[in-house]
């Protein structure tokens, strides 16, 4: 392929083309890589169903709510409360203290009421509340 354009100029043009093609190929490789590594969105309905029998009066039932720890309890017969179990101080998971009828965070001693209100310690805000509805013998949370 003999042309009048000197090799160096031809090469420079070709390098620019290579740059463009390289960018496209990088995108062709990068996009699947990014999607592959991204967390997969949780499928299924946004509501979580828990059988009523699992939530005994006086005890708290911990469960997974869209990948995060949550808790549902029955402080009085027929009354249900669902809360995020993540302490609002620095993110540890709170524990239920049946004796004292309150939540206590093992990290820095933050205390919450059964309704999630801050009773003492460093937490700045109450535990996040989650909607809960009794449907037959299932608790629908979310």
């Amino acid at each position: 392929m003999t042309t009048q354009v000197p090799p160096k100029q031809r090469r420079n043009f070709l390098f620019i083309m290579l740059g463009g093609l390289g960018a496209l190929l990088a995108a062709a490789a990068g996009w699947p890589l990014f999607r592959f590594l991204s967390p997969i969105a949780a499928t299924g309905g946004s509501q979580v169903a828990i059988p009523r029998s699992e939530v005994v009066s006086g005890k708290a039932h911990f469960f997974d709510y869209h990948g995060k720890p949550a808790v549902v309890l029955q402080p009085a017969a027929g009354k249900f409360i669902a809360l995020s179990a993540i302490c609002t101080h620095l993110g540890c998971v709170v524990a239920w203290k049946e004796q004292d009828n309150e939540f206590e965070c093992p990290c820095h001693g933050g205390r919450f009421s059964p309704e999630g209100q801050v009773l003492g310690g460093p937490p700045p805000k109450p535990l996040e509340s989650i909607a809960v509805v009794l449907d037959g013998d299932q608790l629908k949370i979310g």
């Binding site: 090799p7 160096k8 031809r10 090469r11 070709l14 083309m17 093609l21 496209l24 190929l25």
Partner: protein, 268 residues
């Protein structure tokens, strides 16, 4: 308990992928003994080997009972040996596993006429050389043995479309399976519809067949939509794949052109 497990097992395999399983089934003492016999005692073995039952690991004892591992008890009623069923006992014999078919058969014209010589399972399907059921079992030669072919032709017509659909869906699912897609759910549903389809025919009632096949086609239509969705995804992948292949080839060519440009410098 073990009977219903056996039935379930059989039914599961009838649907789809025939997994050659002659390693297990051929190890029974039944085959070992009868395989070496002449005449009517030995003939069933060769026949059975060609059958869809053999291909799915169902051996003599699964239908006739008895102990397949113990020569002494192989034909003992204590171990459930039934022996050869009488003509009128055949529907119940096969119905131990093919439950739905037996039900519909018994309620239909053939089943009602069995005492008078009405066709039962073996008459159409054979006994040991049974092949996977197909529409060809309904044909002029076989069905006009007892009555005129008109009625059979009518039923066959009402089955053709659904049969073709079932086969096509089966092929499509197989194709996707071979590409690594998870098709278990679709396979199960196809299997169910095929069962409904097969059992309904055995009532030999055209109106019933038309009604039920409409339902079957509806369900098959849903599976078809899922297959179409996957095919569309495949098409998309192929498109982007082709673009990337073209990009690579183009890049390779550009690199070669660069090489050529260097070659000119090398010479000069």
């Amino acid at each position: 308990m073990s009977r219903s497990i056996c039935c379930l097992f059989v039914l599961m395999i009838v649907a789809g992928w025939s997994m050659p399983a002659t390693l297990l089934a051929a190890d029974t003492v039944c085959i070992e003994c009868h395989g070496g016999q002449e005449g009517r005692l030995g003939a069933p073995v060769a026949q059975w080997r060609t059958s869809v039952h053999a291909a799915n690991g169902i051996s003599c004892n699964d239908c006739h009972g008895g102990d397949p591992t113990d020569y002494a008890m192989a034909m003992s009623p204590e171990r459930g040996f039934i022996g050869v069923p009488k003509y009128t006992e055949v529907p119940d014999f096969c119905g131990r596993c093919h439950v739905g078919v037996a039900e519909d058969y018994k309620a239909g014209a053939h089943g009602q006429a069995i005492e008078r010589g009405g066709a039962q399972c073996v008459v159409c399907h054979g006994n040991h050389e049974i092949q996977r059921a197909s529409l060809d079992l309904i044909n002029e030669k076989d069905c006009s043995r007892c009555h005129s072919y008109e009625r059979a032709a009518l039923i066959r017509m009402s089955l053709v479309e659904t049969d073709t659909m079932i086969n096509k869906v089966g092929h499509d699912i197989d194709r996707l399976y071979r590409l690594g897609f998870s098709v278990d759910d679709m396979q199960d549903r196809l299997f169910n519809q095929r069962n409904v389809f097969h059992r309904t025919f055995h009532g030999v009632n055209v109106d019933e067949v038309r009604q039920k096949t409409a339902g079957v086609q509806g369900e098959l239509g849903k599976i078809n939509m899922e297959v179409a969705a996957i095919d569309s995804t495949l098409g998309e992948r192929k498109l982007w794949g082709s673009v990337t292949i073209a990009l690579f080839i183009l890049t390779g060519v550009v690199f070669l052109l660069v090489r050529k440009a260097y070659e000119e410098d090398e010479k000069g």
